[in-house]
């Protein structure tokens, strides 16, 4: 596995060798001793000098050596260095021996790096190579399908959309559910993490480690229970100096629908059948001397003539609203090392035009990572990253201000413009094409972090360091309802037209980590490593909101142009702190039996006065079976490790900053000050607690051709934060308390197989799967069930979180065409009552299985990879279908052809109820659909042009590639629309439950991009 990753990583990256005084040339080939495969990217150096080169893709190197050179050193990560005396040879072929102990492969874990085989915890590593060069600006989305047990659901298709990351199921009801993000050792505040995922440049990332079990996350104490994502960025140590320029260009468009809207003729007939005369027809009548008539009392010839007139003026709103998106990216990277200094510098410009006007993302990112060894026992490093992102945003709401509602709901016969050239406000009372131009929303984010680390290693085995990390997030939003725009006519003050809002926030946080690591051995067989950490983090947030009305023109949008305050100007501030002590002890006997224990104590300003401090612990053990004598003889087992862990972690993200206090807040009445009781005190308030247990096995077989891991986990969350309802007679509605419990149990599996490794040809397939079972076990005293705020599901002991609770649809009464429902007791009734909603066992937005699989092929510079992701067994309430396939209530707007399949005569079965323009299409399980899908998320075909050709034009490496995103979707349950459902609707749901429902959010897109990487 590790070797494969390295090969991929170094593939096509060829460094320049320093040219110096030379006498002769030596060439040769470097292979792996065990399998004879050529090794690209092996460092070839002259002993006692800084000069050197690397092997190319075929393992061939050429080096010019001065006369005084005596020895060549061949080094490659994961292999034992080889020194060869030059003598008089001109060709030196070397077979490198794999470092048998596998002890060189390290992984980033909490607060330190550890040798992979020594780790007794469950974690997944995603290499930078796997997420580089993807035309998706947010890193969280790139993790989809890459790591076992990590469910990544993209919010929607918006440029820069974030993703929901759930590690081993949903771990909380009301508190945060996202994992903690740690970038280069700096803990990122939870509310800033989404911005970091979108502003960091994926190409700067060396690897991402996802910590899943207690042994790894309890090091992060009160912030660790949802898992931890550790991002490590690149440094210059792996390569000689080199400059790489990358360019990408691509287009994208909305994924095609799997349903069709009614044609104008179908729609007009449907309206007629339902007894609805649309305003355009009314207008037609009055323009044609039939003003005193209606659709229903004219002759059929007159009617047809009117329809023909409307059909003639019809057009496809989708074509008018949408456009082809565009993606363009430029990147320059310079990295390398000079003596004892490593550097990595990058700059990227990323631009994406969305699939409709008013939707864009433009981003600049820059990075400098520097490290230097000042003295053999003292080094210093600094990582700095800064990104600025500007986006134009659309309304994600369920009305015609949202172009993705409008494109489905405007009737085709409604023109964009009136005869006089003004915008037609249509039957939806708003023209989205006008709104996209005249109600613009822009957001700007400036995000960055800097971390400075002093590293001392005064005596052998001891490492003392102090790291000061800072994160910064600045957010600015402009929203302008321009004077004279249609929307202005609804919401504005007629005497002060136009309304402009500027709001934003700044969040600065620092994270100071002092730590000591001491490694020592007692005798030959007892090995110890001790970690001690003291950490303090402080977060300072401030925000503002300004709003004015009365603007002279749509071009003058700053607040100083406004005539009058809207009365909503405000600023706010908040601070939270967390102070921690942490200790971890690793012990192993003969590098065979490993035991680790950790303890962390956190205190936070967010916790109540009576619960200020929390303690977290973990214990884990592993047994490296392949080190045992009885397995040493079996040559095809490279690694076989059994491991287990238990421990606790907390989740403090759901607690408000001052939630434990009894408070009076200030406001206004008649523009004078008010003071009002705003919060019930709870001095016991504390973090949610999670007990995590995990057993697993890691293996590498047949010289690493087959690698994998298997885990069974059982996680128990207690002290869940709930808004416990109070009697409203107290004047309060609720208080946040720690009550309730739930469990997540499941299995993670990951497997990677090199099916073919033959000469230059390599074919790998990989896959991962997670099965998770969520079960709510306890709610607050006396409460048996809590309805979610969207009115679709419940949190109820004995059921998975957010299990759907809906009225069951019982088909039509085939005699009358009336809609029928099952009441609570299962009897059929024609009376809809929301009281008849019942819990639909086994139907929830939680998937039964999810994961990813894919393949990589490479042959002589050609690489082909395909990555699939899948989600199986989850249910989604399909409001899109309910809207477009209505029971007649949707006659005023465009409808899908499926709506025509309704009851027409006695005896009709399996049809929609007899439609009625005044009927409500009720929320029933008729619109609850299974949303399993398998999606070909990414296909990349790349070709690295042979070095001997490119070198002629002084180019060390040239790689061209094309990438396709979302090229294929398998939708086995015929989900109406796109089965990959994330946010549903950002503005129209009372609460966001990922994957619960569709409601015309930004559609996912299909992208095709072309790219080229040139290395000098």
């Amino acid at each position: 596995m590790q070797k494969k990753l390295l090969i991929l990583f170094l593939f096509g990256l060829f460094a320049i060798s320093n040219v110096f005084a030379q006498d002769r040339k030596i060439t040769g080939k470097v292979t792996g001793a065990n399998d004879g495969q050529t090794l690209p990217g092996v460092s070839v150096r002259i002993k006692g000098s800084t000069g050197g080169t690397q092997t190319d893709i075929n393992g061939i190197y050429t080096i010019n050596i001065p006369a005084n050179a005596t020895t060549l050193i061949f080094s490659y990560i994961g292999f034992i260095n080889s020194e060869v005396v030059i003598g008089s040879k001109t060709q030196i072929d070397v077979a490198l021996t794999q470092d048998d102990k596998q002890l060189t492969e390290v992984v980033v874990t909490g607060y330190q790096t550890k040798v992979k085989t020594s780790v007794s915890s469950s974690l997944s590593v995603v290499s930078g190579k796997e997420i580089a060069d993807k035309p998706v600006p947010s890193i969280d989305n790139l993790l989809q399908g890459k790591a076992a047990g990590v469910q990544v659901t993209t919010e929607n298709g918006r440029p820069g959309a974030n993703a929901y990351i759930r590690i081993r199921g949903t771990g909380s009801v009301n508190a945060g559910q996202q994992p903690l993000l740690v970038v280069d050792g700096v803990q990122v505040p939870d509310d800033v993490a989404p911005q970091f995922y979108t502003t960091l440049n994926a190409n700067d990332i060396k690897n991402i480690t996802v910590l899943k079990d207690a042994a790894s996350v309890s090091l992060y104490g009160a912030r660790g229970s949802n898992g931890v994502v550790l991002i490590t960025t690149k440094n210059g140590s792996e390569s000689e100096s080199r400059v790489t320029y990358s360019f990408q260009y691509g287009t994208n468009k909305k994924l095609a629908d799997n349903f069709t809207l009614m044609s104008p003729a179908q729609k007009l007939k449907y309206e007629y059948d339902l007894g609805y005369e649309n305003p355009d027809f009314t207008l037609y009548l009055s323009n044609n001397g039939l003003g005193d008539k209606t659709l229903f009392d004219i002759t059929s010839a007159q009617r047809q003539a009117g329809w023909n007139a409307l059909i003639k003026q019809s057009h496809n709103w989708m074509d008018d609203i949408l456009r082809s998106g565009r993606i363009m990216q430029h990147q320059v990277t310079i990295s390398g090392h000079e003596k004892k200094t490593n550097y990595y510098v990058s700059f990227q410009k990323y631009d994406q035009a969305g699939i409709t006007i008013g939707s864009d993302l433009n981003r600049y990112t820059g990075k400098i990572n520097l490290s230097t060894e000042v003295k053999p026992w003292f080094s210093i490093s600094n990582n700095l990253s800064l990104g600025q992102r500007s986006t134009n945003e659309l309304r994600d709401i369920y009305n015609a201000q949202n172009p993705f509602v409008a494109m489905y709901s405007y009737n085709p016969y409604e023109p964009i413009f009136n005869k006089d050239g003004s915008y037609n406000i249509t039957s939806q009372s708003l023209n989205v094409i006008e709104a996209l131009k005249n109600n613009p929303e822009n957001q700007k984010y400036l995000d960055g972090y800097n971390t400075t680390t002093l590293d001392l290693h005064p005596i052998k085995g001891l490492n003392v360091s102090s790291q000061f990390g800072m994160t910064y997030n600045d957010y600015k939003r402009d929203y302008f309802v321009k004077p004279g725009s249609i929307l202005d006519g609804y919401i504005a003050d007629p005497t002060a037209p136009g309304e402009k809002t500027d709001n934003g926030s700044t969040e600065f946080s620092y994270d100071w980590v002092n730590k000591a690591i001491y490694k020592f051995s007692v005798g030959e067989d007892h090995h110890f490593s001790a970690l001690a950490v003291q950490e303090f983090q402080k977060d300072q947030f401030s925000s503002y909101s300004l709003s004015k009305k009365g603007f002279a023109s749509g071009d003058l949008g700053t607040q100083d142009n406004g005539a009058a305050n809207d009365g909503t100007n405000s600023t706010s501030k908040a601070v939270w702190t967390i102070a921690s002590l942490l200790g971890e002890l690793d012990y192993n006997y003969k590098e065979k039996y490993y035991v680790t224990g950790s303890y962390r104590r956190d205190g936070s300003s967010r916790f109540g006065a009576d619960n200020k401090y929390g303690n977290f612990y973990s214990a884990s053990a592993s047994w490296l079976l392949n080190q045992e004598d009885f397995l040493k003889g079996i040559s095809w087992i490279n690694v076989l490790k059994l491991r287990g862990s238990i421990g606790s972690a907390g989740n403090f993200s759901g607690i408000g900053n001052y939630q434990s206090l009894g408070l009076f807040r200030y406001g206004k009445y008649n523009n004078q000050l008010t003071a009002v009781p705003s919060q019930v005190p709870n001095s016991d308030l504390t973090w949610e607690k999670k007990l995590k247990r995990d057993i697993g096995v890691d293996f590498e077989l047949f010289d690493g051709r087959i690698t994998g891991a298997f885990d069974y986990y059982n996680e128990n969350t207690t002290a869940l934060l709930f808004n416990v309802p109070l009697s409203q007679t107290t004047g309060f509605t609720n208080v946040v308390r720690n009550v309730g419990a739930m469990t997540n149990k499941g299995i993670d599996m990951a497997l990677s197989v090199d099916v073919v490794r033959y000469k230059g040809f390599k074919w790998n397939v990989y896959g991962n799967i997670n099965y998770n079972k969520n079960n709510v076990t306890e709610l607050y005293n006396g409460s048996t069930e809590i309805d979610d705020l969207n009115g679709l599901g419940v949190v109820k002991p004995g059921y998975p979180i957010n299990t759907f609770k809906l009225v069951r649809y019982a088909g039509v009464n085939s005699a009358t065409g009336a809609a029928q429902y099952y009441d609570k007791t299962g009897k059929i009734t024609e009376e809809y009552s929301s009281d008849d909603a019942v819990i639909l066992k086994d139907k929830s937005p939680n998937p039964k299985f999810f994961g990813g699989f894919g393949t990589n092929l490479s042959y002589k510079g050609i690489e082909l990879s395909g990555d699939f992701t899948y989600t199986l067994g989850n249910y989604v309430f399909n409001y899109n279908k309910e809207t477009l396939v209505s029971w007649g209530g949707g006659v005023y707007t465009a409808q899908a052809t499926d709506a025509l399949n309704y009851w027409k005569k006695p005896g009709d079965k399996n049809v929609l109820p007899k439609p009625d323009a005044n009927a409500t299409t009720y929320d029933t399980d008729l619109y609850l659909q299974k949303a399993s899908y398998i999606r070909l998320k990414n296909v990349t075909l790349a070709y690295t042009i042979p070095k001997n050709i490119t070198q002629k034009v002084h180019v060390q490496g040239l790689r061209v590639f094309i990438t396709g995103e979302n090229l294929l979707t398998i939708n086995p349950n015929h989900f109406f629309g796109d089965p990959e459902v994330g946010i549903g609707s950002a503005e129209s749901f009372a609460t966001t439950i990922p994957g619960q429902a569709t409601l015309f959010s930004y559609p996912n897109t299909r992208q095709l991009t072309f790219g080229v990487d040139v290395t000098f």
Binding site: F664, Y669, A675, Q728, T730, T733
Partner: protein, 481 residues
């Protein structure tokens, strides 16, 4: 050398730990601890305005005097009666009320909103002795008592039986006087609650000042509200006493409006007639008019139109007709809409103050009481006073007997239409809701109400208590749902 660095790093570590501890206590920048909220006289003024603000809206509720779609004193009691018809062009907000289909999980949460008002008043009353004796204290205490009484009264007329139909065993609502966030009170008897409302109002009337300015109650407002409470209780002489006191003590600025002043009331350009109103300003994020209509470039989209039969009761010389009812053309169809909450002459659309008690009502309360005290001459005098100030061509009427009574009730309906009185007036008189068969269009055509009658004293007159309350508080007995 190396050792120095080791010591230095250990020292650094120690420094870090000690400096962190005091950082673990943080206080908000936008709030004070409850214990520190009542220290100065200004704290009490702030808290009192906070109580009034809850009539308008709170963080959790805006369904009381500042309500829109979820239930509102401006519209719901008219929707629950015969004054309005659901407009098919609107958003069909509050249709549950219009169709009388409310259930505990889908009811008017005036409950939570009113008790938020009550809590704020109770905090003031619990801390009132932090103030030194004197007029300031008396006025604050009087206002807080009146605020508390009015909220309880609104709860009673919404969720409990009418006073005149209730037995001693029938339940009212919990009459809350504590600030305990964990209390789980049971419902007090209906009649006892009315007595407590009266007691708080009567005490308030002795303490409160004569003029507290716009947006706050004063002596005349309290007396005016008392006349309403006594009217609901059928205690006629007390109605007369309170109404007379209100009329006599009202500041000049709040005397009965004439036909010239009357239209200005609804633009908040005049304080005539208004004894107490809840102030709602542009920046308060409360658009009470949206519950009735929204202007659009295509025309005014009405949520509810005035019932056609009601519009016929307003004569063309009635100043109220022009102030209350507008007409629009939407998609080529003419509709009437409620204009009362359309907005001020300048400022945000649909933002106006909510008038809680007006002098017009006080005269009508007294007229009805005089009638019931068999003093028809006094009743007619009050009725004529009102009519003279409402009709541009008024000639004094001379009704007697039933005709006089009917004229009082007609004027009451016309005067208080779309102000949250109609449902409660029908209820207190133990009458049925009887709707017309007219539709939603301006000419009476269109789609009519599906529910045309609600029998007198139907269970539908006592709205369901919100499910959230009965779930959280097992001591609350639900109404008959």
């Amino acid at each position: 050398m190396k050792k120095i660095y080791i010591y230095a790093s250990i020292a650094l570590l120690g420094l870090g730990i000690s400096s962190c501890k005091k950082e673990l206590t943080q206080n908000p920048y936008n709030a004070v601890n409850s214990e520190d909220a009542f220290k100065t006289p200004d704290d009490f003024s702030n808290a009192l305005r906070g109580a009034y603000a809850a009539y308008r809206s709170t963080t959790n509720f805006a369904v009381y005097y500042g309500g829109q779609d979820g239930g509102a004193m401006a519209s719901t009691p008219d929707i629950l009666a015969d004054n309005l018809i659901l407009n098919q062009q609107g958003r069909k907000s509050q249709q549950t009320f219009f169709d009388f289909k409310y259930q505990p999980n889908n009811t008017w949460d005036l409950w939570g909103n009113a008790y938020a008002v009550i809590l704020r008043a109770n905090f003031i009353l619990a801390n009132i002795d932090h103030l030194g004796a004197g007029d300031f204290k008396n006025n604050i205490q009087g206002e807080a008592l009146a605020v508390r009484a009015l909220a309880h009264f609104d709860l009673l007329r919404t969720y409990a039986k009418s006073y005149t139909s209730a037995t001693d065993a029938d339940l009212g609502v919990p009459y809350v006087t504590s600030t305990d966030p964990n209390a789980l009170p049971a419902r007090d008897p209906d009649k006892k609650c009315y007595d407590l409302v009266v007691a708080d109002f009567e005490k308030a009337a002795t303490l409160i000042g004569a003029d507290n300015g716009v947006g706050r109650m004063d002596k005349a407002a309290v007396e005016g509200l008392l006349s309403r409470v006594y009217l609901y209780m059928g205690q006629w002489q007390k109605v007369v006493d309170a109404a007379t006191s209100a009329i006599n003590t009202a500041p000049d600025a709040n005397k009965l409006a004439d036909t010239v002043e009357f239209p200005k009331i609804w633009l908040d350009a005049s304080e005539r007639d208004v004894l107490f109103k809840v102030k709602i300003l542009d920046g308060d994020n409360v658009q009470i008019g949206v519950g009735y209509e929204q202007a659009s470039p295509a025309g005014v989209k009405a949520e509810y139109s005035p019932d056609y039969a009601l519009t016929l009761l307003y004569t063309t010389t009635d100043t109220r007709k022009r102030s209350y009812i507008g007409q629009t053309v939407l998609n080529t169809v003419k509709y009437n809409y409620i204009k009362k909450y359309f907005g001020r002459a300048a400022g945000a659309a649909n933002v106006v103050d909510f008038k809680v008690i007006r002098m017009g009502e006080v005269y009508l309360n007294r007229a009805e009481a005089y009638y019931n005290l068999t003093k028809p001459a006094d009743a007619l005098a009050d009725l004529n006073t009102l009519r003279a100030n409402r009709y541009s061509d008024d000639t004094p009427g001379a009704e007697t007997g039933q005709a006089l009574y009917n004229a009082i009730q007609l004027q009451r309906r016309l005067e208080l239409a779309f102000e949250g009185a109609r449902f409660f007036d029908i209820k207190r008189l133990n009458l049925p809701v009887q709707r017309s068969s007219f539709g939603d269009k301006a000419d009476g055509s269109g789609i009519a109400a599906s529910v045309k009658t609600v029998p007198a004293n139907s269970k539908l007159f006592e709205l369901p208590i919100p499910l959230a309350e009965t779930n959280a508080n097992k001591n609350i007995k639900q109404n008959d749902y």
